[in-house]
């Protein structure tokens, strides 16, 4: 499965919990959240646009960093 890396402007555990919930809601994703570096690595067959849209639902700034 493709692995993508995203920047998400998370500042605390509340933010990373929010990211966890929206990703779990989307489903079919495996992910790793690096709060201190504001990075989310997602392994999924969803395309990048879908993943980015989902991350942006949290209301935080998010952008695509690239494949891993």
């Amino acid at each position: 499965m493709p692995k993508h890396e995203f920047f998400v402007d998370m500042t605390c555990e509340g933010c990373s919990n929010a990211v966890t919930r929206v990703l779990n809601k989307l489903g079919a994703v495996q992910f790793d959240i690096d709060l201190s570096n504001k990075k989310v690595t997602i392994e999924s067959d969803h395309n990048v646009d879908t993943l980015l849209e989902t991350l942006k639902k949290t209301g935080k700034n998010a952008s695509y960093l690239g494949d891993k």
Partner: protein, 71 residues
């Protein structure tokens, strides 16, 4: 306009508040939104023709918080 208070779980800091106020505030039919970290809720004034307590709850839920209408 109507007003509703929605309980919100999972907010921890001012940036959580900011994102909810921004996101809910830009919905059509929402006149004002005031989020309280201490009270764990969001007080929203809205146009009942365009939004319902359910739809507002749904938006906050979709943002990754746990929302429920307050009684």
């Amino acid at each position: 306009a109507e007003s509703v208070v929605v309980c919100v779980e999972g907010m921890t800091c001012s940036s959580c508040i900011q994102s909810i106020e921004n996101q809910v505030g830009k919905l059509s039919g929402v006149h004002s939104v005031k989020v309280s970290l201490g009270d764990k809720n969001a007080a929203i004034i809205y146009d009942p023709k365009l939004q319902t307590p359910e739809s507002l709850k749904e938006v906050i839920d979709d943002m990754g918080f746990v929302a429920a209408p307050a009684d």
